[in-house]
């Protein structure tokens, strides 16, 4: 499980030093942010592009002369990532050609299925679970998806999710309840081993 634990962000404001400190901090956060984008978007290329956007936005914000000191940089970058992914999910509504997994993803799953290696079966089932979860998440609205993803994959409390999405806890609960209701059959299936 990925937690919100990363290196603290200590920045020197002169540009070469800022870039150096930023690069170090980015390395500590990158895998988590990419995973989060991948879970939201369920597309490797788009998650890659979104992750780049997230860190670019973060750098632009930190570079401003009046940039505030960040109390919790991990939560701050999570918030940027969630908003970036929500924007992409909303614009995706019009992209009907995105209904299938990418050709690359299909090929890698087929290769795993054909493999006879001992760990291949486990990896194949993990990939299958991922696929099923992705298909289930397609049923949710962007906001429900954000709430569910942050709870399921990041193990955040409803209060923390509310802070990231700028929603009160009651609204987060309502979104989560609707998401779980929509996913009930899929979740029951995933939780019964």
């Amino acid at each position: 499980m990925i937690g919100l634990v990363a290196q603290p962000l200590v920045l020197d404001r002169t540009e070469p030093d800022l870039l150096h400190d930023f690069a170090r901090w980015m390395t500590s956060e990158q895998r988590r942010i990419y995973s989060l984008c991948q879970r939201f978007l369920e597309d490797r290329d788009e998650a890659d592009s979104a992750t780049q956007d997230v860190f670019l936005k973060a750098y632009q914000a930190l570079k401003r002369p009046n940039a505030l000191e960040l109390e919790d940089p991990a939560r701050w970058i999570t918030r940027i990532a969630v908003n970036t992914c929500l924007d992409r999910l909303r614009s995706r509504k019009w992209q009907f050609w995105r209904r299938r997994p990418s050709h690359e993803d299909e090929q890698s799953i087929l290769a795993l299925a054909a493999s006879r290696a001992p760990e291949a079966e486990q990896r194949y089932f993990a990939a299958q679970i991922g696929e099923r979860m992705a298909a289930a998440l397609e049923k949710l609205s962007p906001r429900q998806r954000a709430v569910f993803t942050l709870r399921h994959f990041e193990d955040l409390s409803l209060e923390e999710i509310g802070e990231i999405l700028d929603l009160d806890v009651g609204t987060v609960k309502a979104h989560m309840f609707r998401a779980v209701t929509k996913l009930r059959a899929d979740l029951r299936d995933l939780y019964s081993k």
Binding site: M1, I2, L19, A23, M26, T27, Q30, R31, R32, Y34, S35, Q38, R39, D48, T51, Q52, F55, L56, Y59, Q60, A126, I129, M133, F148, R151, H152, F153, D155, S157, L158, K173, M176, F177, A179, V180, R184, L187, R188, L190, Y191, S192, K193
Partner: protein, 135 residues
């Protein structure tokens, strides 16, 4: 004793933190709930991604940061020069054209009078030029 919680209720508890006091008093349901928590942790394993992929991604981010900086450096002087030019143009606004010294009231009235007296439409005047003798 209350009835045991079913799978849907336990899953709802897992995600929405709904209050089910039964969990505090029933060891069997509490054990099933802990199993579900463990299962969720298994399902939420990090996305498999190679170190090479992440390194390439960092290089791409760095390149985009540099590109933006280059763009800014290239266009900043041009934008500053343009802003100064606009500022100067606004500050030293061109003066209004001075009134023509020969355009007196008498001449104006004479021109208007001759236009009113003429029976021929004004637009037909250039046609006469075609038939006039050059010599």
């Amino acid at each position: 004793m209350n009835a045991h919680l079913n799978d849907d209720q336990l899953i709802e508890q897992l995600y929405t933190a709904a209050a089910h006091p039964h969990l505090d008093s029933c060891a069997a349901c509490a054990a099933r709930y802990r199993e579900l928590e463990q299962r969720r942790a298994e399902l939420a394993q990090p996305v498999a991604v190679s170190a090479e992929f992440l390194a390439a991604q960092r290089r791409a981010i760095h390149a985009r940061i540099e590109k933006r900086r280059d763009w800014r450096l290239r266009w900043a002087p041009a934008a500053a020069a343009l802003a100064i030019a606009i500022g100067l143009a606004v500050h030293y606004k061109a003066p209004n054209p001075a009134p023509r010294p020969d355009a007196g009231d008498a001449q104006l009235f004479a021109e208007v009078y001759s236009m009113e007296q003429s029976t021929e439409p004004q637009a037909a005047a250039p046609i006469h030029a075609l038939f006039e003798d050059d010599q």
